[in-house]
Every structure is written in structure tokens, then in C-alpha cells.
Amino acid sequence: MRVPPLLRYVVRRLAISCFVLLGISMIAFSMAYLLPSDPVTSRYPDVTNEQRAEMRRQMGLDQPLPVQYARYMQSVFRGDFGKSLGTGNNVVDDIRQRLPATLELATYGIVFGLLVGIPVGMVSALRRGRATDHLLRVFNLGAQSIPAFWLGVVLIFFLYFQWRLAPSPIGRISPMFSTPPTISGFLTIDAVLAGRFDVAWAALRQLMLPAFVLGLGVVSPVARITRSAMIESLQEDYVTFGRALGLGFRHVVLGDAFRGALVPIVTTIGFIIGNVFAGAAIVETVFAWPGLGRYAVTAITTSDMAPVCTCILLIASTVALTNLIVDLSYALIDPRIRHEYAR
């Protein structure tokens, strides 16, 4: 039986992803294993050396790294990612509690980045080599150069301490408001669903500055790739043909040329998501946002092994899986690629 090429590609890509995930888990575990921490001493500080050795033996900490890794993976497949020494909770519960905050922040940040970055890139491509292009280039480089943590501090100083325009940077929502029932995990959406528009507005105001700082880091890579992809696709024959037919700007540039440029833009999304997670660690620290990034930073600075390993595992797997989805989505976006598989 002849396997269709598209299916063969999907299967091959899935197989590679399994190996990548395995590699990720190995490296994540080894890194957490290397952290200068001793779970026994931090949990029971006043035990004798013999008791400590006995506990280490019971917990399997005297085993070599590969054995510990195998045990860890066994428990991971049972859904047990260990306990955080800092919070005393299961890491899974800790993460479940904090993930929505990060997801909400990241979604708003990425949407902002795309909404600014794609038009900026398109305009630069259309006005290539002219003053507008150079101006936008400086804007991009500037957006890329301002350290997020410093920008956060500057915005807090001026907009909160000086001018009182922004709410105080104390997390997702001021404790004055009662939070709406959790449906999506996004405070802004949940509040609207519950009909509490004052809460939604308060949550949105809290979100604005951190999402802006996070999103600014996305603008520059998006604009850069949009510019070069658009320049390339504007030179394609089908664009010339569309122009020759007398089709309007909206049809040729926003329709055909942009669609042709979409593959390289989508390719960077995996990269962007990785960046956003790293950015979230910084932004959440500055704005006291109760999310995953701050959790990871705290876990690392306190050498808390289980959350460190889980966070790194979670983020790296997300990036790897996004890349997989991106690769598989090419066929949907670009009919030329679809035809190549179908042949």
C-alpha cells in the first residue's frame, strides 16, 4: 500500500517531536539535578547525618542520575511532578493556579506585538528604502533595544508614581474587587461573562502596562520578518499579474502578497512564544504579576528543584509543540506546499 506523502511527512515529523521531547526532559532534569539544593536538609534542618543519609536513601537521592531520571519520568507519566519546597504544594497545582495569569498576559502581549509588528513590516516593505522605511527601522531597533525590566520601572515611575494614570503595579487586580467565577481563566473575559464590567475594566487597566512591555519585545522580530517576506512576495509573478489585471491595493497587497508572506511570519511564532515566556519572567517580576514566570524565577533563586524542572519542561515542550504545529500548518497556508505533498 502506498502511503500518501503528506501523511508520511506528518508521521515523520511526529516521531522527531517525540525524540525532541525526550531530549528536552533529559536536559531539564539534569539541570534541576545540578541545582545546589538538598531537599532533605531544607525540609528537615535538624536531623543527624545518619538520619539524613537514611532519608536520602529512602527518597532515592543516592541513586545515580539515570536511575533518578527514570524514576522521575515514571512519576511524570502518572501526572506527579513533585512538590515545591517553597509553597509546599504539588507543582501541578501551583502551575494550574498561575498559568492563566501568564496566558492572559502573553495573549494580550502577543496580540499587541502582531497588531503593531505586521503593519510596520508591511509599510516598510511597501516604502522600501524611503524615509518611512528608515524611520520604522529605527523604531524597530529601539523597541528591540530597550531593556524590558527598565522600561517597566520607567513606566511605573512616571505613569503611577508621578502622574497617577496607571493603577499600582500589584498584580492582576486590586484586592478591592471580588474576582468573578473562573470560566476561561482570563480575568478580563470572565468578568465580561459575569456581567461585571467594572472588574473587566480594572483588570484591563492592570494588564495594559505589563502587556505593552511584553508585546514591545514581539514587535521587532515580527516587523523584521514581515518586511523581508513581503519584499520577496511583492516581487512574485502572481503579484505582478494581479497588478497588471488592475486589481486594487487591497486585493493585491493585503490579499495575495500578504498571504504569500505568511509562511515565514508563522514560522517565527514558535520563536516568539519562547521569547514571550522569557519576557514574562522579567515583566511578571517587575509588575508583581502572579504568573508562571515569577514562579520559575523564585524557584530558581531558591534552588527549588521540582518547580524548576517542571517549568523548563513545560516551556520547552510548548515551544517544540508550537514548532510542530507551525510545520504542519504550512500546507494549510500555502497552496504551493500543499500541491508539493499531494504530488
Binding site: I24, A32, I146, P147, A281, T285, I300, T301, C311, I312
Partner: protein, 298 residues
């Protein structure tokens, strides 16, 4: 791709590609005002870093009773919560950050290029294995990885240099591998082999010099990112530890005193940091436009 190549070789005698140093000097900055601006800002900052010990007006580490003074003629950028001069500390930090990021990136260039060169030239399973490893590494949240590695090695200036090097190696390995792959099939390599050159001589005398220009572009962009990352690490409390001054540490220390209106503690060092990264990015972007024919033609 093929079409481009044959066109380029036909046009060969007419349009000679300018050499690396010539394009850096003439094409690189001469015709691009933004590049000139970037290079000038960078030059000022570098001079400030190099001659830092001569420029400082006060001891950057010694504490004094004159705490939280606003900018004045005596203290140009004010003083911090320990009465230390913010201007002197900023210049000293700049020096340290340049050294740390510079050493880290140079190390990454050396090791990464070697790996990329060998991978691209040898090919086969060795290449496959190493590149898959690079793929995996690149899906990691590098900031968190850097934090963990610094903690594992113990927070010190030396470990930040090593970590900066480690997390940047994959970039260079990948770029130089691509360069090597595309160049090893060109005629001058065949010519060298025919004239009896050894593999090592082909690799280091013929291939390596021709992969240098992307290294310079990536190097300056990478240096910008590295300066930022060093500052982020110390801002998050991992890395360069007080009392050694660092731009990230200074911004972090200043955040607690914003309430009292002491803006100069955070904002001034951060401004210098932003200017450093911005000038490096400008220079890198300008070189990229000049050295990368695909962009330079546009």
C-alpha cells in the same frame, strides 16, 4: 537560488564584491547615517568604559552619609541609598558589562564557529546528531537556563562569562554550518583540493576566512543581546552581586526608592544600558544590510 548563482558568476568580472574590511569601512558606515550614529554612540560609550577609572568623580563602592541626593554639580547623576555616586557607578558598571558580554560572545564565536565549521564540512551522522541537539537547546527558555547555570556554577563574574558563552554557541554553530555548507562546493575549494591542500588547510585557510562576515554581523547583534542578558540576570538577583556595580543591579536597587522620588537611581543607569544596546543594534543592523547581499541589494 540556482538562477541567482549563475547570474552572479556571469556578472563576476564586472561587479567585484568588495572585501570585508573595505565594506566595513566604506560601504559599512560611510553611506548610512544610522550606522554612523550607532558607531558614534558606541565609540563614546566604549571610550567611557575604557577610560572609566580616569573619569569617575567618586569611589563607586565606598559608602558615604550623603544618601539619595538628587543630581547636582558635585554628583552629576545623584547618589544612591548608600551615598555612592550614581555617575561613577554607572561608568564602572558599563566597563564590567562590556568586559563580561564581550568575553562571553568572543568565546561563543570561537567555539561555535569551530563546531559549525566541522559539522558543515564533515557532514553525516555527526552533523545530524549535533544539529538535532542544537534544535533541542534552542527550544529551551534560555533566560531560565542561564539562571540555573549561573546558580550551578556559583554566582560570580566568571560564571556569567561562561554562561553567556554557552547559551550563544548554538547560534554561531548554526550560522557557520550554513555558510560552510554553501561554500564548500564552490570552485575555489575544489581548486585548493586539486593543488594538494590538506583538509585542515582547506578548512582553516580557505573556508574559514570566507565565513567571517556573518560572524561580524551576528557578533554585534549578539553583543547587544548579551549586554542586555547580563543586566537582566543581575536585575533578577542572579549574577553580578552587589557591591560590584552592574547596570541591572543598579536599576533593581533603585526600584525600592522610586516611592521617595529618587528616579535617578534606576533611570540613569538604565538609560546608559539602553543606549549601549541600541548603538550595538544599529551597528549590527547596518553591517547586516551591507554584508548580506540579499538585504544590501534592496
Amino acid at each position: 537560488m540556482h538562477g541567482n548563482l549563475s547570474l552572479a558568476s556571469q556578472a563576476g568580472p564586472l561587479r567585484r564584491k568588495p572585501g570585508l574590511w573595505r565594506s566595513l569601512y566604506v560601504g559599512g558606515f560611510g553611506s548610512d547615517p544610522l550606522g554612523v550614529a550607532g558607531a558614534s554612540i558606541l565609540a563614546v560609550l566604549l571610550l567611557m568604559a575604557v577610560f572609566g577609572p580616569l573619569l569617575v568623580t567618586h569611589d563607586p563602592i565606598r559608602t558615604t552619609p550623603a544618601t539619595l541626593l538628587p543630581p547636582s554639580l558635585d554628583h552629576w547623576l545623584g547618589t544612591d541609598h548608600f551615598g555612592r555616586d550614581v555617575f561613577s557607578r554607572t561608568i564602572t558598571s558599563l566597563r564590567i558589562d562590556f568586559i563580561v558580554a564581550g568575553l562571553g560572545v568572543s568565546g561563543a564565536i570561537l567555539v561555535g564557529s569551530l563546531i559549525g565549521l566541522v559539522c558543515g564540512y564533515v557532514g553525516g551522522w555527526f552533523d545530524d546528531l549535533l544539529m538535532r541537539f542544537v534544535d533541542i537547546i534552542q527550544s529551551f527558555p534560555l533566560l531560565l537556563v542561564a539562571m540555573v547555570l549561573v546558580l550551578v556554577m556559583g554566582p560570580s563574574v566568571a560564571s556569567i562569562v561562561v554562561v553567556t558563552m554557552l547559551i550563544n554557541i548554538p547560534t554561531y554553530a548554526r550560522v557557520i554550518r550554513g555558510q560552510t555548507l554553501s561554500k564548500k562546493r564552490l570552485e575555489y575549494i575544489d581548486a585548493a583540493r586539486c593543488s594538494g591542500a590538506s583538509e585542515a588547510s582547506i578548512l582553516f585557510r580557505h573556508l574559514m576566512p570566507n565565513t567571517l562576515s556573518p560572524i561580524i554581523v551576528h557578533g554585534s547583534l549578539n553583543l547587544a543581546a548579551a549586554v542586555g542578558n547580563v543586566a537582566v540576570l543581575s536585575f533578577l538577583g542572579i549574577g553580578i552581586r552587589p557591591p560590584v556595580p552592574d547596570l541591572g543591579v543598579m536599576v533593581a536597587e533603585g526600584t525600592s526608592y522610586l516611592v521617595q522620588g529618587a528616579w535617578w537611581m534606576s533611570i540613569c543607569p538604565g538609560l546608559v544600558l539602553a543606549a549601549t544596546i541600541f548603538s550595538l543594534n544599529l551597528v549590527g543592523d547596518c553591517l547586516e544590510g551591507r554584508l548580506d547581499p540579499q538585504r544590501g541589494e534592496l
